[in-house]
Amino acid sequence: MSLDSLYQESILDHCKNPRNYGAIDGPKVAIHQENPSCGDQIDLQLVLDDAELIQDIKFTGHGCAISQASASMMTLAVTGKTRNEARSAVQTFRAMITKGEALTDDLEELEALQGVRKFPVRVKCAMLAWNALESLLNG
């Protein structure tokens, strides 16, 4: 277990400069989720177009570097995906974080988060945004 594997440069970059941070103007679907045990919070909003493509996705929140970076990276990874593709991305990411399974090529940027698997108490931090996305897509 090395810290470098957990706090990779790209994670720290996403934490300090989160992408797609903010709120969407106009019609959208939105959800608020938190991890009660650690207080991490996320507000996630997205716009699906008529073809069920994720056209826009934004988040705000506060929490540890892992939860914030994971949310930021997620927004990049699922923009332009269909509802079903995004659902399957959530499952792939969850399998990577909890079971160490391989990522599909379209999600390779998320490899930076694979070190989290070695810190079991931090898995819920990385999953917060993804669980929120899943609820939103299923809702």
């Binding site: 957990l6 720290l12 300090k16 207080g39 929490g63 540890c64 931090r122």
Partner: protein, 408 residues
């Protein structure tokens, strides 16, 4: 400096181990303390040689167990200067002790509209039981606010106490380290006829406590923060209050006579100890009291003050680190935040350096809101910590800043 106490680390076998390849530096003592050999041996001897139920059997082991269980009560009574062992009620922990007062005393003697005075710095265990009682019987809750310096704002104590029937405050803050002026508040509370309950979870382990000088009417604390096992705590109460109080739970051992349709209750303390109690744990608490008394609580207090001052001084040298709480006249729980690094990330990085701290809201969410932070990191010291460990903590905090790209 720091020469007034011998090094007690050898008494705590758990401290001698590697964590993540580094020597363990245990700085989470406000959450729970480690246990000395003297306590571990007492537990083992009990289970190996005289394990039996108390107050029941007319046989040798039961008598031995009962004697040890009641001797521990007498030791605890002397330790806090209770008037009699019967004023010491065994509970599971501080939370249960406070709930016992809420159910047994307040539920019976308070009525709708009566005011209970608490503070913004209280642990959830001294907030939630009163909110529950508020729902049940309609009492009013009032709160002493916390100043920017981390002290209770007592500038209008008389105003705060108007109409108050019960004051319940922590003696020492588990977050800020603040030592509250309990004796002063008790005197003012008694002047308006209020009862004074003190949460001593963070004071009894770290300083001499005399419930008489404090002017407390009830005093609650936990064993596990003072070298004893988990599962044993204490509610001390003045004999007349305990006598008048309702029992909390019904069952065996708390009764005098039982009929099918009614019962009469035992006298305190047994009236409040339904069912088979935590026998080994109570005897273990007695052993912890012996252990701490042999060192001397005044020496423990002065050593911890010096070590805390050293830690505060060193922490202040870290850029971007902010301490939440008073600088002096304080206990060894030190809460801090580091700019740009979330407390959970700090805690993970420190853990990789072998340093155990707590990160979170410390069961004090209202206080976190008052401080304007979602949570803090907390290093809490005990008498077995040494100056070298402060150096390791400081080094690990620098490491965290390096990981996060803050050049120090």
């Amino acid at each position: 400096m720091l020469s007034t106490i011998r090094n007690y680390r050898a008494d705590f076998p758990i401290l001698d181990q590697m964590v993540n390849g580094k020597p363990l530096v245990y700085l989470d003592n406000a959450a729970t303390s480690q246990k000395p050999v003297a306590v571990l041996d007492t537990l083992e001897t009990y289970y190996r040689t005289y394990n039996a139920n108390v107050h029941r059997g007319i046989h040798t082991l039961s008598e031995q167990a009962t004697n040890a269980y009641e001797e521990a009560r007498a030791k605890i009574a002397r330790f806090i200067n209770a008037a009699a062992p019967a004023e010491v009620i065994y509970t599971r922990n501080t939370s249960e002790s406070i709930n016992l007062v809420a159910h047994g005393w307040a539920n019976r003697f308070l009525k709708a509209g009566d005011v209970v005075l608490l503070s913004e710095m209280e642990h959830h265990s001294n907030l939630v039981p009163w909110q529950m009682l508020q729902k049940r019987i309609g009492i009013e809750l009032r709160f002493v606010s916390v100043t920017d310096a981390g002290l209770l704002d007592l500038s209008d104590l008389d105003g705060l106490l108007a109409g108050v029937k019960l004051v319940s405050l922590m003696h020492v803050s588990n977050v800020l380290g603040t030592i509250n002026p309990i004796a002063h508040i008790s005197e003012a509370a008694h002047a308006v006829g209020a009862i004074m309950l003190v949460d001593g979870a963070q004071s009894v382990p770290n300083m001499p406590v005399d419930v008489q000088t404090l002017g407390a009417d009830f005093f609650a604390f936990s064993g596990h923060k003072m070298c004893a096992p988990t599962g044993i705590g204490v509610l001390w109460g003045r004999a007349d209050l305990l006598e008048a109080m309702d029992p909390f739970m019904g069952g065996g051992d708390m009764i005098s006579e039982v009929f099918l349709d009614h019962s009469t209750y035992a006298d305190p303390p047994h009236k409040f100890e339904a069912g088979t109690p935590s026998i080994a744990q109570a005897i273990g608490l007695g052993a912890a009291v012996d252990y701490l008394s042999a060192i001397g609580m005044a020496r423990i207090e002065s050593y911890e003050r010096e070590l805390t001052a050293l830690a505060l001084d060193r922490l202040a040298s870290i850029d971007g680190l902010r301490i939440h709480g008073p600088q002096t006249e304080r206990g060894g729980a030190i809460s801090f935040t580091v700019a740009g690094i979330h407390p959970h990330d700090l805690s993970t990085i420190l853990d990789q350096e072998g340093v155990a701290i707590r990160a979170g809201s410390h069961c004090a969410q209202p206080l976190m809101r008052r401080l304007g932070v979602p949570m803090t990191a907390r290093a809490s010291l005990y008498f077995y910590n040494v100056p070298d460990e402060i150096d390791v903590l400081i080094g690990a905090l620098h490491k965290a800043q390096e990981v996060f790209g803050y050049v120090t």
